[in-house]
């Protein structure tokens, strides 16, 4: 199965590294001007606590982008294993790897949601307010443009 793994996204088995694809060349939208006409708020310039608006918050190892990248990595790993397991259901080692990826995904998601905003609506409203509409929906969900 190894040859079909997408190694770029393999998680380390430890806690999140935020080291998404081995380089930090992600770019933020943060040097866009806000656009009053298109109704499409550029979340990055509104929510970004950095004033410099230069480059990408991912370069700064912010906990937001680290956690979001860790969620993406762990979930991608689990999803890729899921497809593999659909056609190799007897591979018990892959089942174990799948469980570990899911565990890591859930753990990082929990930390993210405690610190930022709910990612699924069943996690919304825990603080008594309708926080489902917080955060960034696609296409404004570049994790690099967040604090």
């Amino acid at each position: 199965m190894e040859n079909n793994m997408n190694r770029r996204y393999v998680v380390s088995g430890q806690n999140y590294s935020g080291n998404f694809n081995g380089n930090n060349n992600m770019r933020s939208n943060s040097n866009q001007q806000s656009c009053p006409n298109c109704g499409n708020q550029n979340s990055s310039s509104n929510n970004n606590s950095h004033n410099d608006n230069q480059g990408c918050a991912c370069d700064n190892n912010s906990s937001f982008s680290d956690l979001m990248h860790a969620i993406m990595e762990a979930d991608f790993y689990a999803q890729d294993l899921k497809l593999y397991l659909d056609t190799h259901p007897d591979d018990t080692r892959a089942v174990e790897m799948f469980r570990e990826a899911v565990r890591q995904y859930k753990a990082t998601r929990k930390v993210f949601e405690e610190n930022f905003y709910p990612l699924t609506s069943d996690e919304a409203g825990k603080n008594g307010t309708w926080d489902w509409i917080e955060g960034n929906f696609p296409p404004d969900s570049c994790p690099c443009s967040q604090r």
């Binding site: 694809n21 993406m72 979930d75 593999y84 056609t87 570049c142 994790p143 443009s145």
Partner: protein, 189 residues
């Protein structure tokens, strides 16, 4: 049942504006070999797969294609975010702008609206999976064509990921086809 998670599968962080590139990449949103075609094809065919192995694989790949649809839509939206009529016209996409402005509309790069005629669903697992194998290669080839035309590194990073996924899906569909063909052989013994 589907659950929306408020993020894309991988980061989509496009710095530069480019309506021309958006108009090309749009084909993987609503074009013949795009992600909408892929997701509807698998999510429709899954209902008549002969066993749970097939139902699981088509459901899971079809679901991932929906996540890819969201990624491609995000690329198009980011490439055109806040661009005005003049910019679209300058980049040769005035014809798109007059009908859709900054919206993301499921159409091919040539402007043909999405149609279900791009897909088939036959209740015959051999026919369906053979179509799926071809579909994955056509999507892979389309991403190769996009990479030949795009010089935006932020875009290419994401397109290369999507291209790679088509290769993995092709592999999995091939394994499912082999499995069904071996089942047929066992029956004939």
């Amino acid at each position: 049942m589907f659950v929306f998670e408020k993020r894309t599968q991988i980061p989509v962080c496009i710095k530069n504006k480019n309506p021309r590139l958006a108009g090309i990449i749009l084909s993987q949103y609503g074009g013949p070999d795009g992600e909408l075609s892929a997701s509807l094809r698998y999510l429709s065919q899954r209902f008549t797969m002969p066993d749970n192995r097939g139902k699981a694989l088509l459901t899971d790949i079809g679901t991932e294609e929906l996540a890819h649809l969201e990624i491609v839509g995000s690329i198009v939206a980011q490439l055109t975010d806040c661009e005005g009529a003049k910019s679209f016209d300058k980049y040769g996409t005035g014809a798109y702008y007059v009908d859709h402005a900054n919206a993301v509309y499921p159409a091919s790069a040539a402007g043909v609206p999405f149609t279900a005629a791009y897909i088939q669903s036959k209740a015959d697992p051999i026919a369906d999976i053979a179509e799926d194998l071809a579909a994955e290669q056509k999507a892979r080839a389309t991403y190769d064509n996009i990479l030949r035309m795009s010089d935006d590194p932020d875009v290419n990073e994401v397109i290369k990921f999507l291209r790679e996924r088509e290769v993995v899906h092709f592999q999995r569909f091939g394994e499912l086809l082999d499995y069904y063909q071996s089942q047929i052989k066992d029956c004939q013994k």
